[in-house]
């Protein structure tokens, strides 16, 4: 939380209690897709909602030659749908400028520094700088080293922070090596590893649901919970990212970050406060408690697959191996299902089933807590068959909300039981649209609140869990993965995985 807030007595009691200091955001890779699709629209929305500080500026850094005015013109289309008036854009555009240069050339950074000092001098603001690396990861090392060499990691009286986009490494070794590069130049508290999933309101609501209500906590453990399912399903395929995805795969692209982050939020102990480190300490403890899957256990507890040609919503779709940029003999997975156990008092013996994949029937992200059945069924043999265990489902997207299923008597003399669902939909309680994930995260980074960002130990621990799986896959030399037709819920091996314990995947 911002210390500044407490130092400005006039901020007290205002509705917007979190307020960033005057600052400059320097976007590396300013002509790229992320800048256009996410970053600038998010900053523009923050601006029109009056959430950016006085004297903020955005400096785009990229290789291509262009003027400030060309840069602004190109970004106009990115914000069009949020524009309420031309004057909104004119005032926002005045804060945008462009710096042309090569990230790998150390001399460019002296020029960058001078440019920043000019900007700051013109506006009489402190040298608070937020560096956003919206570049391919291969550029990270060179940018970070050059920033350090130019003395920009510590910007004198102001602050310097750096936001790094995933992937943070491709295995434990490379993650450690990247973290070493970062820590040569920046202190950990200056580093904001972004996982946009954590910026989603409903992901944050998991913590509120668990820790602002007292009725769920007593049953949130091995005594009442039978198992937990976490699903992150996408309907899209590679979307032109074939080359990138071939080197990555679903385990690295989604499980290492989004899925394990959801696991930590649902399984963590209550933090002592909502302070960044208190929350992240508890999340790391969950990752530390994950029972390692040995290489020998991988085939038993992990399933991977690739989508095959099929049809989705009435449209024929090609298979993974036919996608552009994909090796026809590729063994890169587009689907993963994993069973994990947590070795701690709360969760010992409760299996956590995680599944994620591309070209599945629905875009849905959900955490489902399956509770144990009633210890004795007193309503006769029919009821035993009809009664279902309670399921508490935390839906993250697209239909954010919480639903609880429970058994209810069917009206009439038959004594029949039927499960019914009680739905709470976020949108039916709060008509306001929640802010986009990037808005929240950019604002937090400007304020200096790292709660929703991944810490170095979280990042490395997550890689440590997955490394034996990656190694076993590497060593097994299997070239043909289980297939699942586009528009289905993954290969049949995924059903077998969960059936080992007499369970089945929740129908979504």
């Amino acid at each position: 939380m911002s210390e500044l807030l407490f130092q400005n007595p006039l901020r007290e009691g205002l509705r917007l209690t979190r307020w960033p200091q005057p600052s400059t955001i320097i976007i590396f890779g300013a002509t790229g897709d992320l800048t256009h699709r996410k970053l600038v629209p998010a900053l523009f929305r923050l601006f029109v909602n009056g959430l950016l500080p006085v004297n903020f500026s955005i400096l785009g850094f990229a290789r291509r030659e262009k003027t400030d005015s060309q840069f602004r013109d190109e970004l106009l289309s990115a914000v069009q749908k949020d524009m309420r008036s031309q004057s909104d854009w004119d005032r926002f555009a005045a804060s945008l400028s462009y710096f042309q240069g090569d990230f790998t050339q150390s001399t460019e950074y002296q020029n960058l520094r001078r440019r920043l000092e000019e900007l700051e001098g013109e506006q009489g603001k402190p040298s608070n700088r937020l560096f956003y690396l919206a570049t391919p990861p291969s550029q990270y090392e060179s940018i970070i080293d050059n920033l350090g060499a130019a003395g920009m990691a510590n910007s004198g009286p102001g602050w310097a922070r750096i936001i790094i986009e995933k992937p943070y490494g491709r295995d434990l070794e490379s993650a450690r090596s990247l973290n070493k590069v970062i820590s040569r130049v920046f202190r950990e508290e200056q580093v904001y590893r972004i996982d946009h999933y954590l910026g989603k309101e409903t992901v944050q609501n998991i913590l509120v649901f668990r820790f602002a209500n007292s009725i769920f906590e007593p049953i949130w453990n091995r005594r009442y919970v039978e198992h937990v399912q976490i699903t992150v399903a996408e309907t899209i395929g590679l979307e032109g990212r074939g080359k990138f995805f071939e080197e990555t795969g679903t385990l690295r692209d989604v499980v290492q970050n989004h899925v394990l982050q959801l696991l930590t939020l649902v399984a963590m102990e209550p933090p002592s406060s909502f302070d960044a480190n208190a929350v992240r300490d508890e999340k790391v403890k969950v990752l530390r408690a994950v029972q390692p899957i040995t290489e020998a256990e991988v085939s038993r507890y992990v399933v991977r697959g690739q989508y095959a040609a099929g049809s989705l919503l009435g449209e024929k779709k090609i298979g993974y191996l036919q996608e552009e940029g994909v090796d026809p003999n590729s063994a890169t997975e587009s689907f993963v299902a994993v069973r994990l156990l947590l070795n701690n008092w709360r969760w010992a013996g409760v299996p956590f089933y995680l599944r994620t994949g591309k070209k599945l029937p629905k875009k849905v992200t959900e955490i489902a807590i399956f509770f144990k059945s009633a210890p004795l069924q007193i309503f006769g043999p029919e009821a035993v068959e009809e009664a279902k265990p309670n399921v508490l489902a935390l839906s993250i997207q697209p239909d954010e909300g919480i639903s609880l299923s429970f058994d209810s008597k069917v009206p009439g003399p038959n004594g029949r039981i039927r499960p019914v669902t009680m739905d709470f939909r976020y949108g039916t309680s709060f008509g306001e649209a929640p802010p986009e994930a990037y808005e929240r995260l950019l604002l937090d980074a400007m304020i200096g609140d790292a709660t929703l960002f991944t810490r170095i130990d979280e990042n490395e621990k997550a890689w440590q869990i997955l490394t034996p799986i990656l190694q076993q896959w590497e060593e097994s030399k299997i070239r043909t993965l289980p297939q699942y037709p586009v528009g289905t819920w993954g290969p049949k091996e995924a059903d077998t995985l969960i059936k080992q314990e007499g369970l089945k995947w929740r129908r979504l």
Partner: protein
């Protein structure tokens, strides 16, 4: 209004004792229509609106759709109709649902309209209390000039968690403004108090606070000696008083024990014992009405001044000056200020707004010295 002085209530007329039964029947009908899915509704609060004239009743009724969209709730809209001398409390029901684009789900709201004859004013609690949904906060929107007191509304007074007042934009006398401040302070000992007038000046407070976010400027807070508010007409502007009350209490300026305001100027002591003051200046400004600028200034040689001024086109300009040099200038859009929206925001809050209370207490203290 019809011939007997009674207002046609919107919705389906219903006997007051049958309201709950009618609503239950309605939702059961909906459940049957939806076949397999259990019907569940989210309700976040009870909102009581009590108005004393038909214009306010129509205004409140028009605000309901937006309120309901942001806050699925039960609304009890009561018109205390002075034109009906006797008779029973009349009731009418409406239930409306709106599709949320966010969730694709219906957001539903139950609206119970009541018309209470002048003679039945004392019966209002007996009409409203049975209609409140249990375990949910009770908000009262009180947009009237008159006072809401435990004596006049026994039973109902105790049920309110938060009252939303609406300070008039101007007052005919400082006595009337002091009366309003008095009411807000008195109510705050029994319930939480909001004020739509306070919400309307939030953007001024945001802009002024923003000036002092930078550490350099923050140091100047200690050096501030003069507040000047500029308004278009010579009148008692509640916005000017609330803003000054807020600044005076936030900066911890104290009034001397014996004092009297003169020529629209109020004198204080800063925490360091320096003399400080607030001056109300009147200067017509084309196309603007009411309070349009506020200046905060130090009085040392190398004077620093902070200005926030409304401009045409819905902009609020803020400037920082040292001596005669402009150090910084920026412009902000004045946010959309319609009352329905502000009221929606007020319903988001349940906690006590201590800063408002301090500000209104400061206003009351100021007025003590200026009252005849």
């Amino acid at each position: 209004m019809n011939a007997e002085g009674s207002t046609q209530l919107p919705g389906q007329p219903v006997n007051l004792p049958d309201v709950e039964a009618e609503l239950t029947a309605f939702w059961q009908g909906e459940a049957i229509k939806s076949k397999d899915e259990a019907i569940t509704r989210t309700t976040t609060l009870n909102l009581i609106i009590i108005v004393e004239d038909e214009n306010l009743f129509q205004r409140a009724n028009q605000a309901v759709p937006q309120l309901a969209f942001h806050h699925p709730c039960r609304i009890i809209l009561a018109l205390l109709n002075p034109h009906i001398k006797s008779g029973k409390v009349e009731a009418a029901l409406s239930v409306f649902c709106q599709l949320s684009l966010l969730s694709g789900k219906q957001i539903c709201c139950e609206q119970i309209n009541l018309q209470v004859p002048a003679s039945a004013r004392q019966d209002l609690a007996g009409a409203i209390l049975p209609l409140l949904l249990p375990s949910l906060p009770v908000y009262l929107w009180w947009p009237n000039w008159s006072y809401f007191t435990a004596k006049e509304f026994p039973g109902l007074y105790q049920a309110i968690d938060r009252i939303i007042l609406d300070i008039p934009a101007t007052f005919s006398s400082t006595k009337a403004l002091a009366g309003f401040a008095d009411q807000a302070i008195r109510l705050s000992s029994d319930m939480r108090v909001s004020d739509m007038g306070w919400a309307r000046i939030t953007y001024w407070r945001e802009a002024i606070a923003q000036l002092f976010d930078s550490p350099n400027n923050r140091a100047s807070l200690q050096q501030l000696r003069k507040i000047t508010t500029l308004q278009t007409k010579k009148n008692i502007s509640s916005a000017a008083f609330l803003l000054s009350g807020w600044l005076v209490s936030s900066l911890d300026w104290k009034l001397p024990k014996q004092w009297k305001a003169s020529n629209g100027e109020f004198r204080f002591r800063s925490p360091n014992g320096e003399e400080t003051g607030w001056r109300i200046a009147t200067k017509p400004e084309k196309n603007l009405d009411g309070l349009y600028a506020i200046e905060l200034a130090s009085d040392e040689k190398d004077q620093i001044r902070f200005m926030a001024s409304l401009r045409q086109g819905g902009l609020l300009e803020i400037e920082t000056w040292r001596s005669q040099t402009l150090l910084h200038k920026s412009a902000h859009s004045v946010p959309r200020q319609d009352d329905d929206r502000l009221l929606c925001n007020e319903l988001d809050l349940l906690q006590t707004d201590e800063v408002y209370l301090q500000a209104i207490k400061a206003v009351k203290a100021l007025l003590k010295g200026s009252l005849p």
